[in-house]
């Protein structure tokens, strides 16, 4: 158990180092040097760069001259908020739809869900986002078009997570502010989670349908266990393996979607910040944005690996 945990950590570390080599390359493109390096050769400079990264000294923006790390911290919570919401939506709704389809395999519910998810993931994020805005914001008028909260509210940024800030900061809007923020979150989160949710549902269905043919499922049936228990415990526990792998791939799809969704909904997160930095060729900011988003992907995959390791007893190797 411990040994394989160690192995997973090493893999994550190696991919993080690979990432820093890339961002080091980007940082070299800045008009003014990012850091005062002691050495002249690029190789020792890279290690100095690593040192700067660890001490939160990520350089200054080419355009505004601000420290990019503080800039990043301003935008990061908004992205995390959106990402975690979409991720929860994608995983749980996708899992639920997949299970429903697998339970009724061949039936009308299965066919309906599977065609819906096919439509879901063949539609680009921006198109889907615009459709949602058209329908829910402009036609029905029940959802805001953009932003994190209405301008009528002023919320003191404490954690910069809007949902948390509306709850803990001192204001006299009552719970209205929280629900307003939540309402702002719904459309971008649905837009962003749509594709991963569809993939999740399809993968859940196909791996469950496959597993339900296995012999241990027949054994479980012969014991007279209820069908729900067979699916949720016996089949899903084994399907988790492949679902976690798929989940790891979803996060990178989410990241690309994040940039687009933030742009459409004027969400002040890392994605839109990164996009504007790209259009202004602000390399230090690009470097910081990439570093943040990619580290998030690595971190997420690390978590999934550990979960997979915990869930599959065959992967847990004893130390001896």
């Amino acid at each position: 158990m411990l040994l394989s945990l160690f192995r997973i950590l090493i893999t994550a570390l190696v991919s993080f180092l690979g990432l820093t080599i890339l961002t080091f390359g980007i940082s070299q493109q800045a008009t003014t040097p990012l850091h005062d390096y002691q050495s002249t050769h690029w190789f020792p400079q890279y290690f100095e760069y690593l040192g700067y990264l660890l001490t939160a000294n990520w350089g200054n923006s080419d355009l505004s001259g601000n420290d990019v790390f503080t800039e990043l911290l301003k935008h990061f919570p908004a992205s995390i908020e959106l990402l975690s919401f979409s991720l929860i939506l994608a995983i749980f709704v996708g899992l639920f739809f997949g299970i429903m389809a697998a339970k009724n395999r061949g039936g009308w519910l299965d066919k309906g869900l599977m065609s819906a998810t096919l439509v879901g993931y063949s539609m680009p994020v921006f198109w889907w986002g615009l459709l949602l805005v058209l329908f829910f914001s402009l036609y029905l008028g029940i959802s805001p078009v953009a932003g994190r909260i209405d301008y009528a509210y002023y919320i003191q940024p404490i954690t910069r997570f809007m949902l948390i800030d509306t709850l803990i900061s001192n204001h006299n809007y009552g719970s209205a502010a929280f629900f307003n923020a939540l309402n702002h979150l719904v459309l971008p989160a649905v837009t962003l989670s749509w594709i991963p949710m569809a993939i999740m549902a399809r993968m859940t269905r196909s791996s469950l349908v496959n597993i339900l043919k296995f012999e241990y499922i027949r054994t479980a049936r012969s014991k007279g266990l209820p069908e729900n228990r067979i699916i949720w415990i016996h089949a899903l526990r084994n399907a988790m393996q492949s679902l976690l792998t798929i989940g790891g791939l979803q996060i990178s799809i989410l990241m690309t979607g994040l940039i687009i969704a933030e742009y459409i909904f004027a969400w002040p997160g890392v994605g839109s910040w990164l996009l504007s930095s790209v259009s202004r060729q602000d390399y230090p900011s690009i470097q910081a944005g990439i570093l943040a988003l990619s580290s998030l992907v690595i971190l997420f995959n690390l978590m999934l690996e550990i979960m997979a390791n915990y869930l599959d007893p065959r992967k847990r190797r004893p130390l001896s």
Binding site: F214, E215, Y216, R218, T219, A220, R221, S222, K223, G224, L225, R229, I233, H234, R237, N238, M240, L311, D312, P313, R314
Partner: protein
């Protein structure tokens, strides 16, 4: 009253080519404490028959029986839910490959516990005690350690013992063992068979032993049904069947087994029945064995019926009575 009484059980599968018959008019009776064997090649429908009795067939299969009573209760008249309940309470089944029959992601203990619980085992502590008791009763020594382990940490023989323990959790009146020893070593095989026979005597549990190996049946079962392409071709008392087979197929099966002390001349080969089992979609006209049978004649284009003969049942126009007598002389 028989424990289980089945008349004319037929199983058909819905396929793209129409209905395919996997089991044709299977008759079966078993009394408490009895051991009955079913023997046949792969594809003879013996496993499908077992699954049909245990109500585990896939939705594409249609099983019908003229009579299906368990402990005198007519299963044909029950709702599917009631039938499932009655069957899982009285019949347990163990399968060929024990390691893949156990869930790899759950501990042995967990899988035993949930079985005990689903048969009214009380609270978690009582379930655990009962599980440990069951593990001990199937001859697993360090039950406490095994309880926490996963199927991949156990050998095939141990896993089959766990399967048997799980089957015993519902105190079954009938245990169906579908090739219980096929994937095991010969030594482990005899241990598992000994265990099954011991449980059969101690608990007065009826045992239906499905196999393709005569050596297993010769020492265990009272009566044997020989199956060929979905039909019973001969059923008789085991020793009678082994000594004087009436059906050409039974004889061919017996002749293809090497005997201890058999005299082998150089170049002499063991008997082998030419051809293979016909696919269920393209059965020959008349007797299913017809094209392969060395005794076949013109009359065999008509399907023979199961006839009673000297206290046994044979499905053949020309049972080998004369030949059996001559050979025994």
């Amino acid at each position: 009253m028989h424990l289980l009484h089945i008349e004319n059980l037929s199983v058909n599968f819905k396929t793209d080519h129409g209905l395919v018959t996997a089991v044709d008019k299977f008759k079966f009776k078993i009394d408490p404490g009895q051991v009955i064997g079913v023997i046949g090649e792969s594809g003879s429908g013996k496993s499908v028959m077992a699954l049909a009795i245990a109500d585990l067939l896939s939705p594409s299969a249609i099983a019908q029986a003229d009579l299906f009573t368990l402990e005198g209760q007519d299963l044909n008249r029950m709702s599917p839910f009631e039938r499932k309940r009655l069957i899982t309470d009285n019949i347990s089944i163990i399968f060929q490959d024990p390691t893949s029959s156990l869930n790899p992601a759950l501990t042995i203990g967990y899988q035993l516990d949930e079985t005990v619980r689903s048969h009214g085992g009380g609270n978690s502590r009582q379930c655990r005690d009962r599980s440990l008791e069951l593990l001990a009763s199937v001859g697993i020594q360090d039950a406490k350690r095994r309880y926490k382990e996963y199927p991949h940490q156990l050998s095939g023989g141990l896993n089959q013992r766990v399967m048997i323990a799980m089957a015993l959790a519902c105190k079954p009146k009938l245990l169906i063992a579908d090739e219980p020893t096929t994937s095991l070593d010969v030594t482990v095989q005899s241990q598992i068979l000994d265990l099954l026979m011991q449980l059969n005597q101690d608990l007065n549990m009826a045992l239906m032993l499905i196999t393709h190996d005569f050596s297993i049946l010769s020492e265990t079962s009272e009566k044997v049904h020989v199956m060929y392409s979905g039909q019973v071709v001969e059923s008789a008392k085991t020793y009678k069947l082994l000594t004087e087979p009436y059906h050409p197929y039974t004889k061919a099966l017996l002749d293809s087994v090497p005997h201890f002390g058999m005299h082998y001349k150089k170049g002499r080969r063991l008997y082998n029945l030419p051809g293979t089992t016909p696919p269920m979609r393209h059965l020959p006209v008349g007797c299913n064995l017809g094209p392969r049978c060395p005794y076949a004649s013109r009359q065999c284009v008509e399907m023979p019926q199961l006839k009673s003969l000297h206290g046994r049942q044979v499905r053949c126009h020309f049972p080998l009575i004369e030949e059996a007598k001559q050979e025994s002389k």
